[in-house]
């Protein structure tokens, strides 16, 4: 019951992104959606994931987004939408129907949970023991992100002279 209320609240805040004209309001709406998602994660005892969601998605990404909005405020931010804004509720109903059909199909084809039963172990054992190779991927990703940003914002000598 409580999960349903939180999920509905999250959906409302995500739907508001389509309606807000101001990008700052849209970013704040997404951040509130992230906060509600972290509450849902916390309720299912996924504490570490909840902390990551709260600090990184609701915090860091929102800060990055707001900084980008303020850096690009001189441009024409109100580029028109391909579809009018009032189409969103109709699409919401269509997507709800599609999701209902998809979930119905999935529940009919889901394998019983007991078939691949693993004894429950803690997050620490799983993260550092079972999924150690994920760490390599994460480190590579972080390095790729750093080098990507450096490549994007690289200034040549000629560029500096012109500046």
């Amino acid at each position: 019951m409580l999960t349903g209320i939180f999920l509905t609240l999250m959906l409302v805040f995500i739907l508001l992104i389509c309606f807000f004209r101001d990008l700052l309001y849209a970013a704040v709406s997404l951040a509130i959606g992230s906060i509600i998602l972290s509450i849902i994660l916390f309720r299912y005892a996924a504490h570490t994931a909840a902390v990551f969601e709260l600090s990184v998605c609701a915090g860091l990404i929102t800060v990055l987004f707001v900084s980008t909005v303020s850096l690009t405020k001189n441009s024409d931010q109100k580029v028109e939408a391909r579809l009018p804004r009032y189409f969103a509720p109709f699409f919401l109903l269509l997507f709800a129907g599609l999701s209902f059909l998809l979930v119905n199909w999935l529940t009919g084809h889901m394998a019983p949970a007991t078939l691949t039963f693993d004894p429950p172990v803690g997050f620490r054992e799983t993260f550092w023991g079972t999924r150690t190779t994920d760490l390599l991927g994460q480190i590579s990703l972080i390095l790729a992100g750093v080098f990507g940003i450096l490549a994007i914002f690289r200034e040549t000598r000629e560029g500096r002279k012109h500046a």
Partner: protein, 102 residues
């Protein structure tokens, strides 16, 4: 338990589709990034549903943490591209990106 899994899956798919709607219906690059982030929230919910169904939250937590890192790097790179694109074209219209074709 199955009711909660069904609820999580339903909202996960719905939020993913709303993110796809944002991607396809707007031309402003910052709106497109919001769409990608919205899709990521839906995927996180579906991952959580899988963990609740299998009663293996620890494994799903590691996957969600990895996914959050991927999402953050993606957002940082995309926002960097938006800033540079705005400096070059003075606009956030995604159609102008087609000028980048070699």
């Amino acid at each position: 338990m199955l009711d909660e899994v069904v609820l999580l899956l339903f909202f996960g798919f719905l939020i993913f589709m709303l993110g796809a709607y944002l991607l396809f219906s707007y031309r402003n690059m910052l709106r497109l990034i919001l769409g990608v982030e919205t899709m990521a929230k839906g995927i996180t919910l579906v991952l959580l549903a899988a963990g609740v169904y299998r009663d293996n939250i620890s494994l799903v937590q590691t996957l969600i943490v990895t996914f959050i890192i991927v999402e953050t790097i993606l957002a940082a790179i995309m926002l960097g591209i938006v800033v540079i694109s705005q400096r070059i074209y003075g606009s956030l219209d995604v159609r102008l990106q087609s000028k980048l074709r070699g």
